[in-house]
């Protein structure tokens, strides 16, 4: 660092020297804290109840949403089966179902069961 840099450093330290809070700062902080409204047990209980109500409303909304989803999937599957009923009958009568491996059918049933129960997983894990 050359002489000019050292002089600038010294002057910069000088102009900030003494920049500080005024006397009695900590006492004023404690005065502001003492003036804060006191939180009572009733306040805490009311706050807890409000929070619980918010959670309950959210769970009710999610339950309706999940039920609508399941109903929608079920209605869609029913509509597909209804639309392609003749083709499905021909496939079944033609031995298509018998030609499938047992495990493919089992996997399909399991997947359908999991998909149907997925929206209710939170409650099920609580029970189990």
């Amino acid at each position: 660092m050359n002489g000019e840099d050292e002089r600038l450093e010294r002057r910069l330290r000088e102009i900030f020297r003494g920049v500080d809070t005024t006397a009695g700062f900590e006492a004023r902080v404690m005065q502001r804290i003492a003036a804060l409204p006191k939180v009572t047990a009733a306040d805490l209980r009311a706050q807890f109840d409000r929070g619980s109500e918010v959670v309950r409303r959210r769970l009710r909304r999610e339950a309706w949403s999940n039920a609508a989803t399941v109903a929608g999937i079920g209605a869609s599957a029913g509509a597909v089966v209804w639309r392609y009923a003749p083709e499905i009958m021909r496939w079944a009568e033609g031995g298509g179902a018998a030609g499938m491996e047992f495990w493919l059918i089992t996997a399909g049933v399991l997947a359908a069961t999991i998909a149907g129960l997925w929206p209710f997983r939170a409650r099920l894990t609580g029970v189990l």
């Binding site: 000019e4 002057r11 102009i15 809070t21 900590e26 502001r32």
Partner: protein, 181 residues
């Protein structure tokens, strides 16, 4: 650096009052310095510093030790100071003749009667981040690492701010015919 290793165990043990009594004197000048660097007004900075400590008093019971105590305090200070700055700024308008005149005089090239006042004026005209870095670095002769933590910026960024600020100040002082010393 304040003795965080003595304060944190008190907070986690629920001895908030004791922790707070150590925290205020330990961080008073740092919190004030950071607020002053952002607000550039001593009275406003002191008000913000008090507000920060009141917030800390209310938040200390929830401090769980995951964040570094100093980083947490500096973040609260920055946010509080910036909020205060935003509340103040709408009150200032260049259409106000008094404000316009003050801004004009701040750029005057006349030889200053007080050399320190001239240097302060030049520091005030630095870009915001450079001015904040200079203020925090020279206020208490802090390390670059601590300044970086207070600003919430990388160390190399702070070094760049300081380097550019010093170069700008030397150039400005030289262009105005003012000696650095």
């Amino acid at each position: 650096m304040p003795a965080d290793e003595a304060i944190i165990p008190l907070i986690l043990a629920g001895r908030v009052q004791e922790a707070f009594e150590r925290l205020v004197p330990g961080y008073r000048r740092r919190v004030f310095g950071l607020a002053f660097g952002i607000l550039r007004d001593r009275a406003a900075a002191e008000d913000v510093a008090q507000e920060v400590f009141v917030k800390l008093w209310q938040a200390l019971p929830r401090y769980d030790g995951r964040a570094k105590l100093s980083t947490w305090i500096y973040a609260i200070t920055r946010n509080t100071a910036v909020s205060a700055l935003r509340r103040r700024r709408p009150a200032l308008s260049m259409s106000d003749p008094a404000v316009f005149a003050e801004a004009e005089n701040a750029g005057a090239l006349a030889a200053p009667a007080d050399e320190d006042a001239a240097l302060r004026r030049h520091v005030e005209k630095l870009p915001e981040k450079q001015r904040l870095a200079v203020t925090l670095y020279y206020l208490d002769e802090r390390s670059v690492e601590e300044v970086a933590e207070m600003m919430g910026a990388p160390v190399n960024t702070v070094k760049t701010h300081l380097h550019r600020a010093r170069a700008s100040l030397k150039a400005t002082l030289g262009a105005n015919g003012e000696e650095v010393a």
